[in-house]
Subunit: 388 residues, 2 copies
């Protein structure tokens, strides 16, 4: 089977895409001003330097379709027009992304691209976008239609001649890992929407929790690699209770670090959801952990897997270039627990000396030969780099 990169031949998304998306914090309350400020903040905060490059506006940017069927922006929200927004974002050295839907309407009821794929792709290319998130509301449930519609938009995007990362957002119901890369997708959602909760199951209410998103990624590792990624949805780090998907909650410090550790280990796209104009010191520290980001962006492009589970204590590993490993010790329990990474579980030869570094304390831990054990706080995830 050809790899995603071989299918695309476009050099895009050779490592998991990184950026910011408007939905989690702004919802429908986006505006030209907010986007300009966010672009400024991506540079000023160092996020851009750390690798976050795509600034993506999500749903509810739309006006009505024009009489000749072209999508138009809401001029109240974007008085200078969408091209001016793209220009501003590009002027900061960032890439610009937008959102549409394969059905007749977007999830928030705006005009969908169904039947208008060619025109919409042309309009997006005219606006000079670099990323399209393509949702699946108001569209038929069956897989044949879904695959057909994603193929149609993927083809139209390609036909514009512009290099556009295509984000397939059908929520993992129709096994997109099997067909999304072929349809032109560079990332595909493996899960329903993640909300700002540690733990909410797939079928409870409207959003799933961080743990459930992690679990949904298991078993999909063989489908991910340079050019195409399983996507457990956006980061909820830094969301405030009254943000769009803040749902009145906050995740604690351990839980936020754990989301970042695990998204990095899973080679997940890193799309920030919080309002980066007003980040807390904690959000900054987490989102700008360049050692964790290096795990995510390792050019080998392997999605990490769970190699040991004892009740709520898990060990995960992600192979990296240079025979290195990233290893996560994840404590899902409500109690502090010791977790051991044993060499056989990591498929390391017995007696193999490995240098360990803690990627949150940013300290070398010394050399170990058979196993490494550490006491892990409730909901904490220790992220380690292991070098031969």
């Amino acid at each position: 089977m050809p790899t995603p990169a071989e299918l695309h031949q476009d050099g895009l998304a050779l490592t998991p895409p990184m950026g910011w998306n408007s939905w989690n914090s702004f919802g429908g309350n986006i505006s030209q001003q907010a986007i300009f400020e966010t672009a400024d903040a991506m540079v000023a905060t160092g996020l851009k330097a750390a690798g976050y490059e795509y600034l993506v506006i999500d749903d509810v940017w739309h006006g009505c379709r024009s009489e000749d069927g072209f999508l138009q922006e809401d001029r109240k929200k974007f008085p200078d027009g969408m091209k001016a927004v793209a220009d501003y974002v590009h002027s900061k050295g960032l890439k610009y992304g937008m959102y549409s839907d394969a059905g007749v309407k977007t999830c928030a009821g705006k005009p969908g691209s169904f039947g208008f794929e060619k025109q919409d792709a042309q309009q997006f290319a005219k606006w000079e976008i670099d990323f399209l998130k393509y949702d699946y509301c108001y569209a038929p449930d069956d897989w044949q239609t879904a695959i057909g519609l994603y193929n149609r938009m993927g083809g139209e995007l390609r036909a514009t001649g512009r290099k556009i990362v295509f984000s397939v957002c059908e929520w993992g119901v129709r096994s997109p890992w099997l067909w999304a890369a072929q349809a032109g997708g560079h990332l595909w959602r493996a899960t329903f929407d993640v909300v700002n909760k540690w733990d909410a199951p797939q079928n409870c209410n409207k959003g799933i929790g961080i743990l459930t998103a992690i679990d949904r990624m298991s078993g999909l590792e063989k489908f991910a690699g340079p050019g195409g990624w399983n996507d457990p949805d956006m980061l909820t780090i830094g969301l405030k209770p009254n943000d769009n998907v803040g749902i009145g909650k906050t995740c604690n410090e351990h839980e936020q670090r754990t989301q970042f550790s695990m998204w990095c280990l899973l080679a997940a796209p890193l799309m920030i959801g919080c309002d980066i104009r007003n980040m807390s010191p904690l959000s900054r520290e987490i989102l700008l952990n360049t050692e964790a980001i290096a795990v995510n962006q390792d050019p080998l492009g392997k999605q990490g897997v769970c190699v040991s589970r004892v009740g709520p204590m898990e060990v995960w590993k992600k192979p990296l270039t240079g025979d290195r490993l990233a290893v996560a010790l994840l404590n899902r329990d409500e109690h502090e627990q010791p977790i051991a990474a044993a060499w056989p579980d990591l498929e390391l030869p017995e007696g193999q000396a490995m240098k360990l570094r803690d990627l949150w304390s940013h300290k070398d831990l010394g050399q170990f030969k058979d196993s490494f054990s550490k006491s892990v706080q409730p909901h904490e995830c220790v992220l380690l780099l292991m070098t031969p």
Copy 2:
């Protein structure tokens, strides 16, 4: 979208299939003698009276194909031939099931049905089988092929004119809940193989644990109903450490009861895997819990869903006929925990009086109006029947 029963129009599997399958305890070590004894035991132990009707032999029953391409049984294992086995099983008032594979070989390397679908369906019908488990080893990974191959065998089975329950076993990788009923399937695996472990993730080693199987069912509830069921794989209850998928482990009493409670609540097929000729009193008590079975076999055919999760404490509900509910209180923790089923989570009106019955102690608990709370042991699952 038509329901599975509307698609099939055959009256089969209107409630989740119940029976016994040879794989978990016998593996390749099956024989005519063992099957005859198992058929006897299904009657003598009361399993048949409790609703278990399908006796299914799994892989490794095969001899070579005949010169004209028909499957033949291994005459060393089945000296009187497969038809004699079917006759014996039928003589006990049971139904008989067999196993094949959509690829060129079965998972254990025996002849697969690829390219021989018509002949194999005819041979199975000649042997008078009532159930076919159809695996997906040695077959292409892509969904188009998988769907095509299951459609092909589904059509050939139907063309024989014999009523045969079709068990689609591609392990949930290609979202079979979307297409298996249309291909003629009456149940379809939602997960990789379950082994005799409480907790092993989808990607660890070769088999998943009970908890992971439960989690994989979440979100699929809308695809299940009379005529077609999501299948989290066979019951591991009663397996011994040296059984085929016993993997050197046993699950404790709570864990075994929990598997049964949750399989019943999830409207999962109930296929016993242990050696029923030698059941322990505990295995008997669990597998013959007719009150739990009634939850599984309720004619409404709803798959239960998780309605509340607080850390490792979960509440699940399954709507039943007569405005009744089955409710499970599941403690995934290593510590005893109180778990509360609150009326709003169950979508019951405030103040609505419900009579509660514990389906493991088989005792009425009285009438409750707003919530019910109980202390639940580690890995225990309290199964309740609620009646207005």
